[in-house]
């Protein structure tokens, strides 16, 4: 029980504080105590790592009563976070996807993080990867501290790929940088597994179909929304090209056309497919399963010399609450800093760290397969701006539904594109509620 654990920590607080007082140089001098509520949406391996980081924080800040809560991912989480902020009972610190923080900011639900406050805790723009930091600014002001960038990546079974002749002499995966090479690799892998070449979650999934579509569509430099979501600029030719390509994979049964998130994991984990496409966070799942696998950038199928891939960043935000005092703000910022300092733990879970001191360290470069795809940060394609957009948003749900129906051969690319357009147009026409 949380209560007993807290009581225990409280009891040993005095003793621990004495022992650790010397090494708390990162926090401004003292540890004034108090409570800290923190919300996140991490399940699976991310959840396990976040718990480790929280334990790390508890160890260095024994005087603070930290209560951490994990909520259901996606819209339910953001609905809860917004409602709690409206109800004046938000957490002190919360996780928000960079693309969702945008809407929360325009709704006035987040505190601005002023440079002087950040500086007190040793944080400034140059400490963070440029892409996520810049992408998170609104009107030049910071509201969200990026913890990572999490691109869509490619997992591959090294045994299967070796047998299929897809590895070069050094054991690296041969490039799959054209539709033909990609499809051929799937076919070869399928010949080995006797099941599928690759697998991607489709059914009942509000995000994954969008992720794979957007990665390819962004490689063609396609745009979906403009003018902060007030205009739909979907490109039919590029969209058709991507959807035709994806549908071809499921039509030839190289990729299963009907499978959900857990099912897709199971197929890859059981060696029934050579490739698996998802955000890098599933790394822990396959490490636990003791699968012979590695990870690489999602292939540059359509991009030529310009790389792009769907990505988002987890950021740390401070929801607005009346009567927050300076001490409370500092406690929250110190907590954020403490999590950034444990970026290595976080990076082990697959995420590309945004914290430059780790990103540029040899320590990180030595981490494989995690550092294999660090370059994805430069090509990161975030969801377009709009009050209905962002990770797990109505936008992604609408897009995923249409894309999923093409992957599952339940509709044609043309029908899916027109469904996307009509749904997006009605959202675009709606006056922004924020």
């Amino acid at each position: 029980m949380a209560l007993t654990r807290r009581a225990l920590l409280g009891g040993s607080a005095a003793a621990a504080a004495l022992g650790l007082a010397g090494c708390s140089g990162l926090t401004p001098g003292r540890d004034p105590g108090g409570t800290l509520d923190y919300w996140n949406l991490f399940g699976g391996g991310d959840g396990v790592r976040m718990t480790q980081m929280l334990d790390g924080y508890r160890a260095t800040h024994p005087g603070i009563d930290l209560s951490a809560v994990t909520l259901a991912w996606g819209n339910p989480y953001y609905t809860k976070l917004s409602l709690a902020t409206l109800g004046d009972k938000p957490p002190d610190v919360g996780i928000a996807h960079l693309t969702r923080a945008k809407t929360l900011i325009s709704a006035g639900l987040l505190e601005e993080l002023r440079p002087e406050d950040l500086a007190r805790h040793g944080m400034q723009a140059t400490n963070f990867s440029e892409r996520p930091w810049q992408a998170g600014l609104v009107g030049g002001k910071a509201y969200a501290i990026p913890l990572d960038t999490h691109p869509f990546v490619m997992f591959y079974n090294t045994d299967v790929c070796a047998k299929a002749g897809l590895l070069d002499s050094s054991g690296a995966l041969l490039p799959l940088d054209s539709p033909e090479k990609f499809t051929e690799a799937m076919r070869k892998a399928k010949d080995v597994t006797k099941g599928y070449g690759g697998v991607v979650a489709i059914d009942n999934d509000v995000a994954t179909p969008w992720r794979i579509f957007q990665s390819l569509y962004a490689q063609l430099q396609g745009e979906v929304l403009a003018d902060e979501g007030r205009k739909v600029v979907l490109d039919d030719a590029k969209g058709t090209q991507v959807l035709d390509f994806l549908q071809g994979l499921t039509k030839q049964n190289l990729v299963p056309g009907s499978i959900d998130y857990q099912g897709a994991i199971a197929v890859f984990a059981n060696g029934q497919s050579g490739f698996y496409f998802q955000g890098e966070w599933e790394i822990s799942t396959f490490q636990t399963a003791k699968l012979p696998f590695s990870m690489a950038l999602f292939p540059n199928v359509f991009g030529g010399n310009r790389y792009a891939v769907q990505a988002d960043s987890h950021t740390l935000v401070i929801p607005r609450r009346p009567g927050r005092d300076q001490a409370g703000l500092d406690r929250s910022l110190a907590f954020i800093r403490a999590l950034l300092d444990q970026s290595k733990t976080w990076a082990e879970g697959g995420h590309v760290p945004a914290w430059v001191p780790l990103r540029d360290s040899p320590e990180y470069r030595a981490m494989t397969p995690q550092s294999n795809y660090a370059a994805a940060v430069e090509g990161a394609s975030y969801d377009p701006e709009g009050w209905y957009s962002g990770s797990g948003s109505t936008y992604e749900i609408v897009m995923s539904a249409a894309i999923g129906s093409v992957l599952g051969n339940r509709s044609t690319p043309a029908a899916a594109l027109s469904a996307m357009r009509s749904n997006l147009t009605s959202l675009a026409k709606t006056a922004s509620p924020v």
Partner: protein, 275 residues
Amino acid sequence: MTVEARVKLFNRICAGVLIAFALLWLTPLLWALDTALKPNAETTRTTWAVQDPNVQAFARILRDTDIVRWFGSSLFIATLTALGTVLTASLAAFALSRMRFRYRTLVFWFVLAGIMIPSQVLIVPQFREMDSFNLLNTFWAVSLPQIPTAVAVFIFKQFFDGLPRELQEVARLDGAGYLRIYGRIIMPLARPAVAAVVIFAFVTSWNDLLWPLLVLSNPDIMTMPVGLATVQGSFGIRYADTMASALLGAVPLVAVFLLFQRNIVEGIAGSGLKG
């Protein structure tokens, strides 16, 4: 075959069919229990056999989640709601059934109109209202809107109408005030109606999801259903843990049911048939 033998055979077949269905109905619960007793890793094989039955999943849930606290919230809210409903509805019904006053019919129809408004239609304005009262994330926000239940007034009024008038007249002659008649004579006689309304209000409140989901966004004070629905995502593929949490969430009401089986069933049958 004689008629008697035929009837006997028919009854046997009936019993057989019914038992088969009853077992089928129990299967999901038994399967949940079976899963919860397995270690998480063992749940990836679909078999009833448990290699190493243990209650660690239950222990983990009790230790790692706030389920005990959710139980407390649910208990407090459901009790408050049930008592509030019985008290306000029976008082109002007493006035409507036993007292003469101007606009009585009007008031009665006004209350009856409330039956037509499904509470779900009101979530949006009620949320705003709670927001402006600064009651969000409090037990009051959950309980207060559930207390005024038009159906409960109707059930009580029906019941009071059926009680003999003479009781009241005798008491009246003895100089008893209305409050005494209500408290000493009518309510003790209305025990079946009270039971029906208490059970109805308690179970409805305990199982409600939509409204508490909206107003309790802080996990510290969530009710059991909201808590279970909220954290289910964090279990991932730990199916034994998920089932343990579900069963722990089921235990309180099942226990209440087993204790008061007769009252609950009769209460529901009675209120349903009258309402």
